[in-house]
Amino acid sequence: MRKPILLGAAALAGFAAFAADQATLDRGKKDADLACLPCHSLRLVQSQRLSRSAWNKELDKMTGWGCKMTDREAILEYLVANYGDDKPPSPPAMSKNGVPPPQRKQ
């Protein structure tokens, strides 16, 4: 009955090959912040829920638009791990009231 254990070990090894380690994810977050913030807020990134291939395409598009990425692979791993299409949608954020109260007539 060794076969299932071997298969399990192989599956785990396969998983390890795809799952990024915490150091990579941390580096990816730092690099993503540096790469994205010059043009837009991070909210735009964090509200997306995309597959690995869709995130990959987004990174290609942004590179084409002059985005400088120090560690592209780490950024991709960070985005997939946190904003993948298997994650629940982010709750909508609301701004505070920016309408001044009506002025009272004297």
Binding site: P38, C39, H40, S41, R43, L44, S47, Q48, R49, L50, S51, A54, K57, E58, G64, W65, G66, C67, D85, P89, P91, P92, A93, M94, S95, K96, N97, G98, V99
Partner: protein, 384 residues
């Protein structure tokens, strides 16, 4: 809309829930001149109108959605503003705001909707601002006709398009926001260079001068317009190609489109949304008003039907009186739920050309033109 005490309590509860959610999720962003809005992006501002504000035919400026592709240009001094009209014209012009105000002024009520409104409802998910129902608003826009400006410049009869550039510019190598519009739409009497909306000139909505292309996707209505050029061909910049294109042939969801089979989006489909009650709202037993809004691009709304039982039976909603092309109609239906429990409310619009809102909105890689029959789940509570 009749506002019963019960309904008021429900609204207060809903507002409290929204405010709770806001406290949980916001990070102190305030947009000057705007009520609390759904913030998809705060730099540049991409703001969605919460559906509870959609209870008036004209959407107040303080509640109107905001879409920006590029950082907002610094505020334009009305005295220093110039509009260049050039390209295939007999007499290139450099017009001041005073020149534009001397032309005959026209008021156009029109609903402007972001091309990607409803993107969040597409499955599989697609990249882009995850708009739900509120990247839309209806306003009275006022200004000179684009046709009059082109006539003044002596636009060449062989010019088939105009190219319109706003004062906003991209960061790094981000492409500039430049759009082309076919000449026949540019010359349409309702296509104007708006100098005000609802009598106001808010910088965040593209003033002192912005294009209004009624019935077409919001992307066509370029903000902070500083150049109009008459051209022989449509522009080829990113925001014309591949941006804002739609598959010519329907695609299996999740599959890529062939670039050669993508077409520029022009008119908009027929659509309705439910504004009240809201998704997952808890309602006390008793009579209730179901209400919302419906619009149809270049057509007018003919009919809105509402179902309170998941689409089995449909009843005609009452429509607001203004039956105009380009502008939405508000609708409402009085309803008394027979029993407590969970109800699926749905709304379905039909326009003057006979187009009917579909059950399934076609998936497309950029998530444009969502127009499926709207659907909201509510809980009618038991009597205490």
């Amino acid at each position: 809309m009749p506002y019963t005490r019960r309904r008021l309590f429900a609204t207060l509860a809903s507002a409290a829930a929204a405010s709770q959610m806001a406290r949980g999720a916001d990070d102190g962003i305030t947009i000057p001149g705007k009520r609390p809005m759904i913030v998809h992006n705060d730099r540049p501002e991409d703001l969605e109108t919460p559906v509870r504000y959609f209870d008036t035919w004209l959407t107040p400026v303080e509640a109107f959605f905001v879409r920006q592709h590029l950082p907002r240009p610094s505020k334009i001094d009305p005295e220093a503003y110039r509009l260049n009209v050039n390209g295939m014209v007999a007499k290139p012009l450099e017009l001041t705001l005073a020149d534009l105000k001397k032309l005959p002024q026209f008021t156009v009520p029109a609903t402007i909707e972001c091309t990607g409104n409803g993107r969040a409802f597409h499955t599989p998910k697609v990249p882009g601002i995850q708009w739900m129902r509120g990247a839309i608003g209806n306003a009275e826009w006022r200004g000179p006709r684009v046709g009059d400006i082109l006539k003044m410049a002596g636009a060449n009869s062989s010019a088939a398009f105009i190219e319109v550039d706003g004062a906003d510019t991209g960061v790094a190598s981000t492409p500039d926001f430049v759009r082309s519009l076919p000449m026949n739409k540019a010359m349409h009497p309702a296509t104007i260079l708006a100098l005000s909306m609802n009598g106001q000139t808010p910088d965040i909505h593209g003033f002192p001068a912005r294009l209004i292309v009624p019935g077409w996707d919001g992307t066509s209505s370029v903000k902070w317009v500083i150049r109009i050029s008459a051209t022989a061909q449509a522009g080829t910049g990113f925001f014309m190609n591949p941006g804002y294109r739609y598959p010519k042939y329907a695609l299996p969801p999740g599959t890529p489109a062939k670039p050669a089979e993508l077409e520029v989006i022009e008119g908009m489909p027929v659509k309705s949304c439910i504004a009240a009650p809201e998704e997952q709202e808890k309602i006390a037993p008793g009579p209730l008003t179901v209400s919302g809004f419906a619009w149809a691009g270049e057509n007018a709304i003919e009919r809105v039907e509402v179902s309170t039982d998941g689409g089995s039976r449909w009843r005609d909603a009452q429509l607001s009186p203004q039956k105009l092309p380009f502008a939405w109609r508000l609708w409402s239906l009085e309803w008394r739920p027979a029993d407590p429990g969970y109800y699926t409310l749905m709304s379905r619009a039909t326009d003057t050309a006979g187009r009917v809102q579909p059950i399934v909105s076609p998936w497309n890689p950029s998530g444009y033109l969502w127009n499926a029959i709207d659907r909201v789940g509510i809980i009618v509570e038991k009597t205490a």
